[in-house]
């Protein structure tokens, strides 16, 4: 259970932040993935066919933790699946890619444009977004997580094939990314029509996977056009990129996305110092060794450290885990993250953080 109480709703807080007014605490988004099923008490596979259950899990997670965003998200593959990729649907684990939509670039004409209201699990997500926005949209900024064009392209042809094509056949990578972009836009368009925002995930753009050079050649142009589309619809957006990203921070700024969420592998301090004057930064409590495997006090200390590294960032900073939380992350650790944000309160000073760091609250 929470030790502290919020005085504002996440929406009131977000609005006050955007106007530069005082708030009750810093923003904090624990970034649950399918752990939302544990909060509601359902099986993860129920999200595959019930929009109501998916919405209920998102809403229950908002009510349980009071984080600064409610996100409709199950897995990275819903667009690729709608384009013909085959999935594995475990009963109570995250859906995973079984087979890409095509095996070879010669089959590219098999990839058909998606209909977000008809194909695969997309209509379930769209319907869930509607419930979430209708029921809690006034209290909390709601988003759908949409996988970006470059990463989605990997799932269309297979991760290994796409990876090698970047070196052997760059032209085909561009053709695939173009198709992927078109379908990301179709889904994003339907998402925005439900009245909710978009969080982009681009894990394959990570410098842990591809070089900044390849990112600039194959991902950035499509990502830029994707973000331009979202902004043209009057919607805001943020992006999460896993792994190392320091080599492409300037590029993310170029794309002019609203906020950048970084992995715990990346340095938050370095990031805020390098690009914090031009983009809001979020991050980056370790989802594995701290949130999943740590104690409540570990979570508290790591959260305090992140705030210390980030809170002066000129364009703003929000607490977040460095990647989606593992499904079985202890609920009380997620409470501890939010409670640390509440404990810090507002305004934040170096002295206050030092003082809070100097003692243990939980043990």
């Amino acid at each position: 259970m929470s030790l502290f109480k919020d005085e504002m709703t996440p929406m009131e807080r977000a609005v006050a932040f955007s106007k530069g007014e005082d708030v009750d605490r810093i923003q904090c988004n624990p970034n649950l993935s399918n752990g939302i099923a544990r909060v509601l008490g359902c099986k993860i596979s129920e999200f595959n066919h019930s929009a109501r259950t998916l919405a209920d899990a998102v809403i229950a997670t908002h009510r349980r933790f009071g984080g600064d965003g409610a996100k409709v998200f199950t897995d990275l593959f819903i667009i690729a699946e709608a384009m013909g990729a085959k999935m594995k649907y475990p009963e109570d684990e995250t859906v995973d890619l079984l087979e890409p939509a095509i095996k070879d670039i010669s089959e590219i004409s098999k990839l058909e444009p998606i209909d977000p209201y008809k194909d695969a699990r997309l209509p379930i997500h769209i319907e869930a977004m509607k419930y979430v926005q209708d029921e809690i949209g006034e209290e909390v900024p709601c988003t759908a997580l949409v996988v970006g064009p470059f990463t989605s392209a990997f799932f269309l042809i297979g991760v290994e094939t796409m990876t090698k094509m970047m070196i052997k056949d760059p032209e085909s990578v561009h053709r695939l990314c173009e198709i992927s972009l078109e379908n990301c836009i179709r889904f994003a368009d339907a998402t925005i029509k439900q009245g909710i925002g978009i969080s982009i995930a681009e894990p394959m753009s990570s410098c842990t996977v591809v070089s900044p050079k390849h990112f600039r050649e194959f991902s950035k142009p499509y990502l830029k056009r994707f973000v331009d589309f979202i902004k043209s619809k009057g919607s805001g957006t943020s992006i999460h990129i896993c792994g190392k990203t320091d080599g492409i921070w300037e590029d993310v700024v170029d794309i002019s996305v609203g906020a950048l969420s970084i992995d715990n592998i990346a340095s938050l301090k370095n990031c805020t110092e390098t690009v914090g004057d031009r983009i809001k930064i979020m991050g980056n409590v370790d989802p594995s060794s701290i949130m999943y495997a740590g104690t409540k006090e570990d979570v508290r200390k790591a959260t305090l450290q992140c705030v210390k590294d980030g809170y002066k960032s000129p364009k703003g900073y929000g607490i977040m885990s460095g990647c989606g939380l593992p499904v079985e992350t202890p609920i009380e650790n997620i409470d501890a993250m939010l409670d640390t944000a509440r404990e810090i309160g507002w305004p934040i000073t170096d002295e206050k953080l030092e003082e809070l760091m100097s003692f243990n609250r939980y043990e």
Binding site: E93, K168, V210, S289, P326, V327
Partner: protein, 222 residues
């Protein structure tokens, strides 16, 4: 020491680093036709090249696509050299079982670990991707494996690693098998928490650690 052999080994390594698969095959054939020892070609040529590629990866000169192309060249060279290996000349091989845990199909890390394990002298059985916990146990039992390597790239599937460790305990096999875990979201503290024996952030270091751990365990057993 023949200069010709040294030159061929160097070229072999370079062809791997340069991702020139066709060159690797040609040089490997030259190496065998010149009557040199295949094991040396693998360990001082191909693996040396892969080691160099790994270093370039650590230095952020190479990334996953480049590493995969290097590993393709290395495997192509292996295909040429392997049939010529004289097994009685190699040191005793420990058996290892590796795989990507259930729920995950990303096998880049596992494949690199497998290559590195093979070059440090393991005989590796690869269970592939999306492997249910029980299969690791069954295969290790069947082969008398001394090492189980578990890989994942996804936070959502990490819990399956702990299940494998617990199954080993239930089967009374935990003391006989070294368990290594690796992959993007895995950390030393996660390895400690689930009771795995070893973790390293990158494949070649993980493989060296694996060998040390298995040797350590064997010595204790003796």
């Amino acid at each position: 020491m023949s200069n010709v052999k040294e030159k061929l080994l160097k070229d072999l390594a370079e062809s791997v680093v340069d991702m020139e698969e066709d060159d690797t095959i040609e040089i490997a054939n030259d190496f065998i036709e010149s009557g040199y020892d295949a094991y040396e070609g693998i360990s001082n040529g191909l693996a040396a090249g892969m080691d160099e590629a790994g270093k370039l990866y650590e230095e952020e000169e190479y990334y996953i696509p480049e590493l995969l192309m290097c590993s393709d060249a290395m495997y192509a060279g292996m295909d040429v050299l392997k049939p010529h290996l004289k097994y009685d000349e190699t040191e005793e091989k420990y058996k290892a079982v590796v795989g990507v845990v259930e729920g995950d199909t990303h096998d880049i890390g596992k494949n690199l670990f497998k290559i590195m394990l093979e070059t440090t002298g393991f005989e590796v059985y690869d269970l592939g991707r999306d492997v249910p916990p029980g299969e690791f146990i069954n295969k290790a039992k069947e082969l008398g494996a001394k090492l189980i390597g578990l890989s994942t790239l996804m936070t959502t599937t990490m819990d399956n690693m702990e299940i494998v460790v617990n199954l080993l305990k239930e089967e009374g096999m935990r003391d006989d098998v070294v368990v290594m875990v690796g992959g993007g979201p895995i950390s030393q503290s996660f390895a400690d928490k689930i009771g795995a024996d070893g973790y390293a952030p990158e494949a070649s270091r993980a493989a060296r650690l694996a060998k040390d751990l298995v040797r350590g365990k064997m010595n204790v057993a003796v």
